[in-house]
Symmetry: C2
Subunit: 416 residues, 2 copies
């Protein structure tokens, strides 16, 4: 095999991803079908550069695998008057199960191959200090319910991805640290493999901030934004950095730890060991405390997000203490985002998680602190876009990444 280093100005010859040429070609054809939703064979041949015979042979494999189906007549645009048989993704062919363990809730959702959301469920629960085994057991029950609903809808769930709030060592299969859960060195791959229902594809897992950014890319505003940084604020604060449609992960997969950037040297001690981290100023608990809301009591009394709903209620009523708490958090977040802009130079910043419902009150102070910290080097600063997915982005990204795995390599589902 060749071992060619990527050149400075381009990606050079990339890594070989697919076992055989046929596997790669199946992926190219399926990718076009997913993009177009409905497309004719003639147009598929045009888009991929394959002959019509090759397209037909590849389609036959995809139809056999249940991933694609044919039917209906399609007129392709005005300039191409000739009708053809439509090829489309078989929604029920392969669905993805997204799961999420977060500090104060669990979530599950099912997304089909056309990335339509078919099921969603969120359960509030305080996981701080609970053993990982017990939490995975609760997650398994949520997964069973989701699979039951999928099966009821005639969906074939191919695999699952789990979103986790911590630093992951995916090479060793360990969660290295989740300061807000109080977890360290958890053999998370083994726990998930053994604890969750078995599916055709092996269970995968990823950092919740990364998956939230992908959720925004696939189900939210992300596709229009170019390179963006997605801020996922929950009890912890993380950033998912999307560059060229991919998540930027760093050398060890620990990139985007926005919440542990120090904004107040010598400030409050953080679970990460440092002092004055952004999380201590702008994380959910810090904001609720400053606003005079007892976080734990509200969380356990209501559904996930209940405490934020209570805060939003006070904000809407003009409560001074609540407003000043949110302004203070916004100022700290904006100052940190100035560093993000100086280092990453994104096209846009997405305010996700709790910063989405808090945006009407937080955004002005975030913008002001960002502008102050970024100076006048740039003609324009990246816009702050408010996520419509809020806290739901990570579990959507998790489910979507299963669909993505299948689209990128449909041969994964042909083995049986």
């Amino acid at each position: 095999m060749m071992a060619i280093k990527a050149g400075e100005q381009g990606w050079g010859v990339g890594p070989v991803r697919h076992g055989t040429m046929r596997d790669r070609n199946l992926a190219l054809v399926l990718d076009q079908i997913v993009r177009h939703q409905r497309i004719t064979r003639a147009r598929l041949a045009e888009m991929t550069g394959f002959t019509k015979t090759t397209v037909s042979n590849l389609l036959a494999v995809l139809v056999d695998a249940g991933l694609v189906r044919e039917g209906g007549i399609l007129y392709e645009g005005e300039r191409r008057g000739r009708p053809g048989t439509a090829v489309s993704v078989h929604g029920a062919g392969a669905a993805g199960l997204g799961l999420e363990i977060n500090v104060d809730y669990l979530a599950a959702c099912v997304v089909d191959l056309a990335r339509r959301v078919r099921y969603r469920h969120v359960v509030a629960a305080d996981h701080r200090g609970r053993p990982p085994e017990a939490v995975v057991e609760s997650l398994a029950r949520l997964a069973e319910e989701a699979l039951g609903s999928a099966s009821h809808q005639g969906l074939s769930v191919a695999g699952a991805t789990v979103a986790l709030p911590g630093l992951l060592d995916r090479e060793r299969g360990f969660l290295r640290r989740a300061p807000n859960l109080g977890w360290s060195d958890v053999p998370v791959q083994k726990l998930l493999q053994e604890g969750l229902p078995e599916l055709r594809l092996a269970v995968e897992y990823d950092n919740e901030a990364n998956l939230a950014a992908l959720g925004e890319l696939w189900f939210g505003a992300g596709a229009q934004l170019g390179d963006f940084v997605h801020v996922s604020g929950e009890i912890g604060i993380g950033a998912g950095i999307v560059v060229g449609g991919n998540v930027f992960r760093g050398a060890h997969g620990f990139a985007g730890e926005l919440g542990h950037i120090v904004v107040e040297p010598g400030g409050a001690r953080c679970g990460c060991g440092a002092r004055g981290c952004l999380e201590q100023m702008a994380g959910q608990e810090a904001i609720l405390r400053a606003a005079g809301l007892d976080a734990v009591a509200v969380t356990s009394a209501a559904s996930a997000g209940g405490s934020i709903a209570a805060l939003v209620d006070r904000l809407a009523k003009g409560d001074d203490r609540a407003r000043s708490a949110v302004r203070r958090a916004g100022k700290a977040l904006g100052a940190t985002l100035a560093a993000v802009v100086n280092l990453f130079d994104p096209d846009a910043i997405v305010l996700g998680g709790i910063f989405s419902p808090l945006a009407p009150w937080a955004k002005p102070s975030i913008e002001k602190a960002l502008a102050k910290g970024a100076g006048t080097l740039r003609d324009v600063l990246p816009p702050l876009v408010v996520s419509e997915l809020a806290g739901g982005a990570a579990v959507l990204g998790a489910a979507g990444s299963v669909a993505s795995r299948v689209t990128a390599d449909p041969a994964l589902l042909l083995e049986e």
Copy 2:
């Protein structure tokens, strides 16, 4: 043409870089020759997957173009006893001219296709407030001298790259802002094209921090480091971020503006419009001022780096004021690098520019502040590697990038 989006887990089908298949294959063969320095045809066929006939045809083109030459017998390793004729890069075939405009000096160097340094020259000069046209005129004289020396050595210089200390809009061909030079919206592409001696390839230019990182990658410690962040401290402070052997540039090419991260909110006003930027605490002038050395006087009296040499002299003699100035700068830099580690998660950090000669005194305080700011999330922090290239990295990177352009697409030199 296909328009395939890169998949989440891989690079998918990359952009087509070369005009024809032959052009691409020429690049693959030349790349292998550059990597191996000396290699046989048989091994070239093995490494590229081409037949020996194809290899011979491609070699004939490269030899004709003067980029490659054959000669001498090579025994390829112990297991392959059979000798073959060696193919190697023709050092004189195509050289690159590197040029640099910085705040208080100009530099030029020539590097051959095998990335051997054949010429270097640095001239101290204070460019603050001088018109860009006049500075480019001085640079042209330096370039002429470099080309004279190259020609004297029998080298054919194919192109030039210029390192510039500012934010570049390479699409429009403008230098957007160079706060330390006091330049804004300079039509730098036009100025350089018209002002510099004409070569076979068009003149290119890049941010000095990016080129310093590439200089470190190609001529310094970088090749061993994986993904790294190179800190180039001069009057301004920048970072070049190397990910997978490429410079990370951001959405508009403005990534890595380390010097304008705020470390002391409300601190000294910076040329960028913000207050308390890292440059105001750890830039060359800030350190010299704090150390009691009058920056401008020393600079104009001595060669570039003369003021830093004077500082090093005082540090070596145990001067308290100098030592505390450097410790203070190190603390600010270390705190900023903690944010870099949290966001980028690099394998290593390289201390370049003035931080290289200052490292014996600055490194302990940089390390301490980095550890304090980064907390205990990670098992190990990226090591701080001291650059041996110091301030010379950017101009080396500039010259090397010409060699890189030729290696990535030798067909560029076949047109004539």
